[in-house]
Symmetry: C2
Subunit: 136 residues, 2 copies
């Protein structure tokens, strides 16, 4: 099982530790193709290689993946783009987000798209449970 | 000419006034299908109709549009998603963003995708010039 994990990079790294823990849990189910997304060393400057190379690499990885798991608590253009691409390419998709603060709501485009599995979690154990359900 | 304008809603409304001014400029070139995105009344709660209805309406509007113009300064899952859908459906796409503060960089997925026209502007006159070039 090849798993593409998507999380915010230049949109902000507030949830990087969460990404790392989710990636560790995903490894129970297969190979995570984008483990660097959870790295503490990765800042919101992005990777030290040309953007075009990152785009080309990421699209090839996503195309070759079996599933997309996206953590969508931090708004991100790239993650939104990857979700649509994964849909276009017929991948199974799981979107997870932490209960947002101050009554904020998740993107209408995510919540309103009934082809996506979108789950709100209050703690990581709950997120892991949604992942277990997704792969079962 | 049918123009789909995309900007952040639940991702944050900091740029709502900019959206409104860009939409006004776009009207020189055709019908803007999503004029509400620039409305002062629209908050980050979104529209007072079910998310599923918004998603279905917006996807139909985007599919029927000739071009997508996206203001991408504020990271947004929905805008990223719409850019990928517009690409899938063969639309011409123009992405505009204000020179970001604190050395922040635009999404790698946007900058690295050479099929998109992505332009950074320092003031609205420059943004309008990019729009004029796009439609000329």
């Amino acid at each position: 099982m090849k798993i593409y994990f998507a999380g915010s990079i230049r949109g902000g790294r507030n949830d990087a530790e969460t990404y790392s823990k989710i990636i560790n849990h995903l490894k129970k189910y297969g190979q995570v193709l984008t483990e660097h997304v959870g790295s503490k060393e990765l800042t919101d400057s992005g990777e030290p290689i040309p953007d075009e190379d990152v785009y080309t690499r990421d699209m090839a990885l996503l195309k070759g993946a079996d599933v997309l798991v996206a953590e969508v608590s931090t708004p991100s253009l790239g993650v939104g783009y990857e979700i649509a691409k994964a849909e276009e390419w017929g991948k199974s998709i799981l979107c997870l987000y932490k209960k947002l603060e101050n009554g904020k709501k998740l993107s209408t485009i995510m919540e309103g798209n009934k082809d996506l599995i979108v789950k709100e979690y209050v703690n990581l154990d709950e997120a892991f449970q949604y992942i277990d359900d997704f792969f079962s």
